[in-house]
Amino acid sequence: MKKVLVIQEDIIILKILERLVSLNNFECKAIRSLDELSIEDQETNFDFIITDILFEGIAPLEFVAQVQEVLLHKNLLIVTNMGQDKIKQEIFALRGITGFYAVPIDLDEIEAIIQAY
């Protein structure tokens, strides 16, 4: 079964994304911070990681770089409140980013990407 990791501090967005992913027949692990990851999770190669970039104690770009370095994945989607153009440009400059969605989001767009996979 294809696997997705959702990392969102906002529990409402987290639950919605978890539900969206699960109903599309993906196995979903939903967490509110990287601290909740188990050792098995760190060894899993996720088909998608859907993550926020704003977490306490770490700069947004540093967080993305850390996720890219630590977690095995095929696609990385960013869903965040920080939708400024400059942030978007800097995130895409990191490379390996599949999509960037600023809140407010149209969840159909994310669903379409997952379904097309």
């Binding site: 409402i12 919605i16 159909d108």
Partner: protein
Amino acid sequence: MNEESILLFIKIVFAVLVVYWVSIAVSLIYRKIRRARLKKIETTFADIVSRYLYNDPKDPLTFDEIKKRLVKVGIRQRNKNNIQFLIRLMIRTQRTILGRNFSKLQKLYTEIPPYGVSIKKISSWSWYKKARGIREIYEMNQSQYFDEIFKYRDDKNIYVRREAQIALVVFLGWESLRFLPYLKQNMTLWQQIKIVEKLYDHYPKPELKWLHKAYETEKLFGKKLLMRIIRKYELHAEIGYIIDNLNHEDYEVRETAIYCLQTFAVASSTMEYIKQLYDDIPNTTQQGQLLNYIYENSDIDLDFYLKQLYGDNEELKLSIAEILWNNGYKEKVQEFYYQQYPKATLNVG
């Protein structure tokens, strides 16, 4: 002070300390319980919203079940703080989502009424509660309370009328502009910007009928608001309204007109009209701003610039000379320079 009185004093101090410690303990326990309760409400609400938006046909979520779950976590009529917390969650969630799911969410909100808490706030004596109630109503799109909000559109309190005016824009869209000529209280710049942004977010397609009706307004804030709307929607056909206000007697109206005009490029015939209005502007700084606009948006009109160069406005002559100098008319600037000193002789060689 004898031994007995000292003992009594120590007992009193000790009793005060005990009361103090007990109150701290009670406060800590209350906060812990309260935090756990709010967390439970938030988790339950998140689960309800997620299941409602992505309903599983095998395990459907009904409105009855939603209501029961909310009651179970403490969303009851008597728990006003819990209801207030739920309202905050509802507004926060609505701001997060767009598209098809946004409409679904609005439908959900009509099914879980927070016991008219927001509408009750409107009857409050406190302006703060009143403004907050109005805001909650339009944020959650509870249009059934529109009539209640409508009467506060020109309230004496700036915050109450601000929220009521935004509610009008959210519920009525462009039609809300028809009330503009009848508003008596001032509308701040911040309020104008908020109205323009809300209108643009909710009603991106312009309805010029209402804009034309609002042109009747004589209020200065009304004129400024309309010009900002024309600018935001880039309504080229309505640019005449902005141009007509370039030489308005009020400084701020002129300032807004010049600011809004800068978004547009105009036809040469219109630019000729703007040049005619240029002389009517009584403020040098604003004339300078308009001069920059004319320079950046039209070809060099030698007659216009020479008229200004030889005119009475000393403060802008340097800018005009600079424009002519940089655009191939150095000799005209030199000519102007030398004619100022007709009797001077050159001390050369």
